[in-house]
C-alpha cells in the first residue's frame, strides 16, 4: 500500500470538506419561507423544558398551519442578538426579553395590548409584577406578553442547620447571619456572589429591599439611595460577608453558587431551584439534604428579586398576527410549561399564581415557593422598571458599591456618596 504524503492528505481533506459542505451550503434559509413564526428564546436550564416547548410549537404549527421555529440561545447573548436584529430591522418575529424590561426595546416591539387583554381576561388578570415588566409607560400598553418569572428563594443544607438548632433554615437575614457565622466556623460558609453577574445583582437587592432601602422612590424618579435604611443594609451586608462567607464570592459567576452547594461545602445559597435540581441529577445523597425556604425577611419586610421573562413581537415581523396567536396559545398551556420546567417557571397570571401549583405543591420541599409571587419584585422596586432603573442594574452600581465597602476600600459614607452619584448620573441621562 502506498503511503499517503502530507500534500495528498491535505488535498484530500480539503476536497472532502468542500464536497461535504455542499448540502449545507445550498440549504435555503428558513427565513425566506412564508407563513412562519420564528421565536428567539433562551436555552432553559431544564433541557426537558426546551424539548417540551419545541414539541408544543410543532403541535401548534400542525393545528394552525403556521410553522413555528424556536431558536434557543443563552440568555446572556439575547440582548446582543436583539440589538443586531433591531439594527437591521429583520430577524425573529418573537423575541424573549430576559430581565431587561420591555421599555428598553419598546420602539422595536409592537403593542400587544389586545392579546394581553384576552389572556388576562381568561386567567384572572396579570399580576402587578407582570404589569410592571411588560407595560410601556409612554403609552400605558403591553408591548410584550409576560411568560414567567424566576424566583430567588433560600437553598439550605438541612443537616448542617439542624446541627446548630435551626432545622428549618434561616427565616430572616439576621438568623442567616447568626447561623451562617457558626457554620462558617465549622467549615461550611454561606455563599452569595459579590461580582459582575446576575445572581449578585438579585440577591444583594433582596437584602436592601428587606431593610426598607431602595435606589429609587415609587415615582421612579427620586433617588433614595442616601438613606438611613441603605446605611443599615450596607452595614448588615458587610457583616454577613465578613462573618459568614469567604472572599471567593468576589470572583463568582452565576454558576459558582451552584458549584459551591454541589461541592458539599456550602451551607446556604440564595438561588433559583436550578442549583437543587442539578444536584438531584448528579448527587442524590447530597440533594436529599438540601431544602428550600422563603427568601429571608429583613427588619422591614420580606422581599426578593424576580428575574422576569416575556415575549415581544417585533415591528419587523412578517406575521404579527400569527405571533400573537402563538403567544396566546402558550399562555393556555402554562401549567404544562411549569411542569416541564420542574417547578422553575413562576406564574404571571392571577389564576395560575394560586395553589395548587404544578410540581411545587406536590413536593413538600418546594411548597414554600407557593408564596413567592407575593414578595418577589424586580429592578426599580418600589418604582417601575424604567430604562434608567435597568441601566443602574446593568452597570452593577449597587454591587460595585457594596464590594468596595465589604473589602474596606471605602467607608460607609464614601460608599453611599459614590453609589448615589452614579445613580443620579444615570437617571439624569434618561430625564
Amino acid at each position: 500500500m502506498s503511503r499517503l504524503s502530507r500534500r495528498q492528505f491535505l488535498g484530500t481533506a480539503a476536497g472532502a470538506a468542500g464536497v461535504s459542505a455542499f448540502p449545507h451550503v445550498w440549504i435555503r434559509p428558513a427565513w425566506a419561507q412564508t407563513k412562519e413564526v420564528r421565536v428567539l428564546a433562551w436555552t432553559h436550564f431544564v433541557p426537558a423544558y426546551d424539548k417540551w416547548f419545541d414539541a408544543f410549537a410543532d403541535q401548534w404549527s400542525t393545528k394552525s398551519g403556521v410553522k413555528v421555529i424556536i431558536d434557543h440561545i443563552p440568555h446572556l447573548q439575547i440582548p446582543a442578538k436583539i440589538a443586531a436584529e433591531v439594527a437591521t430591522q429583520s430577524g425573529h418575529d418573537i423575541v424573549q426579553l430576559v430581565g431587561t424590561g420591555t421599555e428598553k426595546w419598546a420602539s422595536a416591539l409592537l403593542d400587544v395590548q389586545d392579546a394581553a387583554d384576552r389572556i388576562g381576561k381568561k386567567y384572572g388578570g396579570w399580576t402587578p409584577l407582570a404589569d410592571n415588566y411588560c407595560k410601556v409607560r409612554t403609552d400605558g400598553k403591553f408591548h410584550a406578553i409576560p411568560d414567567f418569572f424566576i424566583d430567588f428563594p433560600g437553598l439550605y443544607r438541612k443537616d448542617l442547620w439542624t446541627e446548630i438548632g435551626m432545622p428549618n433554615g434561616p427565616d430572616s437575614w439576621d438568623e442567616l447571619h447568626k447561623g451562617g457565622a457558626k457554620l462558617k466556623a465549622k467549615g461550611f460558609p454561606v455563599g452569595i456572589g459579590l461580582a459582575h453577574h446576575d445572581d449578585s445583582r438579585a440577591s444583594w437587592r433582596a437584602i436592601m429591599w428587606s431593610f426598607g432601602g431602595s435606589e429609587v422612590a415609587k415615582d421612579g424618579k427620586t433617588i433614595t439611595y442616601n438613606s438611613k435604611e441603605i446605611r443599615e443594609a450596607l452595614k448588615f451586608q458587610k457583616a454577613l460577608y465578613k462573618d459568614c462567607m469567604t472572599p471567593e464570592v468576589l470572583a463568582w459567576d452565576d454558576a459558582s453558587n451552584n458549584r459551591f452547594l454541589a461541592s458539599g461545602r456550602g451551607s446556604w445559597i440564595h438561588n433559583p431551584i436550578s442549583a437543587y435540581r442539578t444536584i438531584e441529577g448528579s448527587n442524590k445523597e447530597l440533594a436529599d439534604k438540601i431544602f428550600v425556604s422563603l427568601s429571608p425577611k429583613g427588619p422591614a419586610i420580606r422581599r426578593s428579586f424576580a428575574n422576569c421573562r416575556a415575549y415581544g413581537v417585533t415591528k419587523f415581523s412578517k406575521n404579527a398576527d400569527g405571533a400573537k396567536a402563538f403567544l396566546e396559545a402558550l399562555a393556555d398551556v402554562y401549567r404544562d410549561a411549569a411542569k416541564a420546567s420542574t417547578g422553575y417557571n413562576m406564574p404571571f397570571l392571577n389564576n395560575y399564581a394560586k395553589p395548587p401549583f404544578p410540581i411545587i405543591s406536590e413536593d413538600p420541599k418546594l411548597k414554600p415557593l407557593e408564596q413567592d409571587a407575593d414578595y418577589h419584585f424586580t429592578t426599580g422596586y418600589p418604582g417601575p422598571l424604567t430604562p434608567a432603573a435597568d441601566e443602574v442594574y446593568q452597570q452593577f452600581v449597587m454591587v460595585d458599591a457594596l464590594a468596595q465597602f465589604c473589602t474596606d476600600k471605602m467607608d460607609l459614607e464614601q460608599t453611599v456618596k459614590w453609589a448615589e452619584e452614579k445613580i443620579k448620573a444615570i437617571y439624569a441621562k434618561f430625564a
Partner: protein, 283 residues
C-alpha cells in the same frame, strides 16, 4: 555508579527540560484539565475533598455521549470545518494578489493603503457586527452559513495580506525580473516564481485564517440562530450553558474534540509553518 556521576548524568540528560518545564506546564495543563473533566463524573468533579487532578470515581463517557447524541455537535463541527476551508480559500485568493501589489508595485497611496489595511484588522468585531448585519441582510444570508463565509474574510484578509506582504518582499526582485526577461508576463512571474517561493508563507497565512475562523464567536452569535447552522464555538456554549447550569463535562468534551482538526492541521504543516514564520520575519 557514584553519586557525582549520577548527578552529572541527570544534569546532562534532563537539564535541558528544566527551563522548558514551566512553559510546558502552562501550555499543557489546560489540555490535561480538559481531558480529565471530559471523563469525570459530576459528583467527582465537584468533590472538594479529593485531589482534583485525578479520578476518585471510575471515569465515564456520559459527557461525550450527551455531546454527541444530545446536541447537534457533529453538524456544528461540519459547519466549522466547511466555513474554515472556504474562508481560507477566499482569503488566499484575495490576499495573494493584494499582498503582491502592495509589496511590489509602486503606485500612489500604496503605503497608506497597506497601513489602513492593517488598522482595519484592529477594529473590534463588537463594533462591526451591527453594520455587517445590514450587509448580511442585504445579501439575504441571515441565518445561513454563507453569512459567516462572507463576513469572516473581513478580519482574515487584512491580517493575511499584511503577513503575505512580508513574504513577497523576501523574494529578490531580480528573480522575477529574470523571468520577465525570459518572456514571462508579470502574472506568469507571480504564478510561477513568487507563489512557489512563498509556499511556507501561504501555508502560514492559511493556518492563521483557519484558526481565526474556527474560534470566532461574536459573528456566529449575531448571524446564526438555527441550531443546524451553528458553529462549534457558538453551538457548544449555546446548548451546554443553560441559565446558571454549566455542563462542564460536555463543554470540555466539545473543546477537546473540536481541537482535534486544528491539531491535525498544525501537525501536518508544522515544518512549513515554522519555516514560514521565520522567513517572514526577515527581508
Amino acid at each position: 555508579m557514584d553519586a557525582r556521576k549520577l548527578w552529572r548524568r541527570i544534569k546532562r540528560d534532563y537539564g535541558p527540560y528544566l527551563p522548558l518545564s514551566p512553559y510546558l506546564f502552562i501550555v499543557l495543563f489546560p489540555f490535561y484539565w480538559m481531558v480529565i473533566t471530559t471523563f469525570k463524573r459530576d459528583r467527582d468533579l465537584y468533590n472538594l475533598e479529593t485531589a482534583p487532578f485525578w479520578f476518585k470515581e471510575a471515569p465515564t463517557l456520559d459527557h461525550v455521549r450527551l455531546l454527541l447524541q444530545g446536541t447537534l455537535f457533529p453538524i456544528w463541527m461540519g459547519n466549522s470545518l466547511m466555513i474554515g476551508a472556504l474562508v481560507v480559500v477566499i482569503t488566499l485568493v484575495l490576499a495573494l494578489p493584494a499582498a503582491y501589489a502592495l509589496a511590489r508595485m509602486r503606485f500612489p497611496g500604496a503605503q497608506p493603503l497597506s497601513t489602513a489595511m492593517f488598522l482595519s484588522y484592529l477594529i473590534p468585531s463588537t463594533l462591526l457586527f451591527i453594520p455587517l448585519s445590514q450587509v448580511v441582510r442585504g445579501l439575504g444570508f441571515i441565518d445561513s452559513v454563507w453569512a459567516l463565509v462572507i463576513v469572516y474574510p473581513s478580519f482574515t484578509l487584512p491580517f493575511c495580506t499584511w503577513l503575505l506582504m512580508g513574504f513577497v518582499r523576501t523574494v529578490p526582485k531580480e528573480i522575477e525580473e529574470s523571468a520577465q526577461i525570459d518572456g514571462c508576463t508579470r502574472f506568469q512571474a507571480f504564478r510561477m516564481i513568487i507563489i512557489p517561493v512563498i509556499i511556507p508563507g501561504i501555508i502560514t497565512a492559511g493556518i492563521f485564517a483557519f484558526t481565526l475562523t474556527y474560534q470566532e464567536f461574536i459573528y456566529a452569535l449575531t448571524f446564526i440562530s438555527g441550531s443546524a447552522n451553528k458553529t462549534i464555538s457558538y453551538g457548544v456554549t449555546s446548548d451546554l450553558v443553560r441559565g446558571d447550569v454549566f455542563y462542564w463535562g460536555s463543554l470540555m468534551a466539545g473543546a477537546l474534540i473540536g481541537a482535534i482538526p486544528v491539531a491535525v492541521v498544525y501537525a501536518f504543516s508544522l515544518d512549513h509553518f515554522i519555516h514560514g514564520l521565520t522567513a517572514g520575519a526577515l527581508k
